[in-house]
């Protein structure tokens, strides 16, 4: 039990971020009209593309002689970028359609 409290104590900042983000994530989209469900899902899809940052960090730390790690990291960067760029662009294309017409 004590080790659990220690763990909470040592990581309290991250635990706060996680808990508050959960509530924020639920609160922030709470009143979305059903018309926007698809674009919102697509937008959220692009945002979790933030995983690309992890891919960049992995890639940037790999030993230049370790080809397997280089290739895996390289793939990760490509896939992450696809998620980000594709995600935001598809969302934009969907939302472009919602322009108010005169």
């Amino acid at each position: 039990m004590e080790s659990f409290f220690d763990w909470v104590h040592n990581n309290h900042a991250i635990i706060y971020i996680v808990i508050l983000s959960i509530f924020l994530g639920i609160e922030v989209i709470g009143r979305v009209p059903s018309v926007l469900h698809t674009p919102l899902m697509s937008g959220a899809n692009a945002i979790h593309g933030v995983v690309i940052i992890g891919a960049i960090i992995v890639m940037g730390r790999v030993d230049p002689d370790n080809y397997i790690a280089l290739i895996i990291g390289f793939l990760a960067v490509i896939l992450g970028t696809l998620n980000v760029v594709g995600g935001f662009m598809v969302t934009d294309r969907m939302l472009e359609m919602f322009k108010k017409k005169k």
Partner: protein, 465 residues
Amino acid sequence: MGLSLLSFIYLVGSVTFILGLKMLSHPDTARKGNLVAAAGMTLAIIGTIFLYEENGERLHNHLWIFGGLLIGSITGWIAAKKVKMTAMPEMVSLFNGMGGACAALISINEYGHLVGRDAAQGTLLTILLGLIIGSVSFAGSIIAWGKLNGRIKDFAFKGQQIGNIILLLLTLAAAAYLLFNLNNDNYWLFYIIFVAALVYGVMFVLPIGGADMPVVISLLNSFTGVAAACGGFLYNNQVMLTGGILVGAAGTLLTMLMCKAMNRSLTNVLIGSFGGSSAAAAGTKGEQGSYKEISLSDAAVCMSYANKVMIVPGYGLAVAQAQHVCHELEKLLEEKGVEVKYAIHPVAGRMPGHMNVLLAEADVSYDKLLEMEQANDEFKTSDVVLVLGANDVVNPAAKSDPASPIYGMPILEVEQAKTVIVNKRSMKPGYAGIENALFFQPKTSMLFGDAKAALQKLVAEIKNA
């Protein structure tokens, strides 16, 4: 200086994600919200490349990083530009899968660094979680993508649910074992877990019906969010953490909202009661009586002399890409003094909001689209309702027949109008696999054919009339 600037950039990035999501949930600000989040993301990416350092060491392999970014950007850009509006849902699924795969690959690479070293359990835990969640999300998204574009058929066998649960438990048990007993003799177990998670992702999505894919994609979307957050733990990186958790939470809520729009629970979708009960329901119903067909010219006359026509678009309109000719029909009728409106069911088509996106692409004005409640008020005063490839969302059984699998789902009450014309390719049932009593009502007439072809002919008829 570098690191503190990077911290500030991450802070800005996190705020843009929150703002972006907030703005995305309102029609007026949605587009700007997407751009705000994209700007924050770009900033965070550039900041990471140039400012990130660990133990005083900057990142290297810049050539590889930029190469990857370039390839990914160009491919993503082309794919997103080229995709047809009807194929948007599967594109989202595909991109989601890429994110999941990215998270899994990060875990694999980080694990490679761990082997032979004394690793902290917390680090190993986040690596394992990122691997499992990312792989499930990747494999599941690819299956969802294949189902939406028709490449993969529904597939289920007896005992699959139990098999899936056993597979999941075994995977988790192996991960737990590895977490406490990692050594040089069992490090390969990690790769077995990787494969098992991929298989689970496939088996998890395979039995779920194509019509439920939006809900599944939304769920997998929140999975990928959590996988990204695992990376945030791993690198103690706040922007990954907030971005991932935000999407995880918002995605879960969105999944539940989507289920609610279809009046179903998430468990019901995942276990897939539609497949099982629908066969029985269709069997007991049997023949419903006869339906009548309407000729093109009759339909044309009927609509041209109406005061008010309501169009109910459905999946049939989307597959046939008939949104433009539908708009043409609307303009033509308006010129003749007919009031034309669209009744949009929240889950018509393949995704919530799908119809709005499609019709907007064809320049249909936003204020002509009525949401379900408004539409239901206006059917009473409509002379003609034209149902274009929609089926379950106009099935009166949802209101009247408690034995029906779709009982309780909110529907468009088109039978309140004076006349109903239904355009379908055949009398085949829709996704729920059940007969639709609407088609056999005296006020209903059927206009068979592909939505686009039928509408084109209808437009020609009305022009000549």
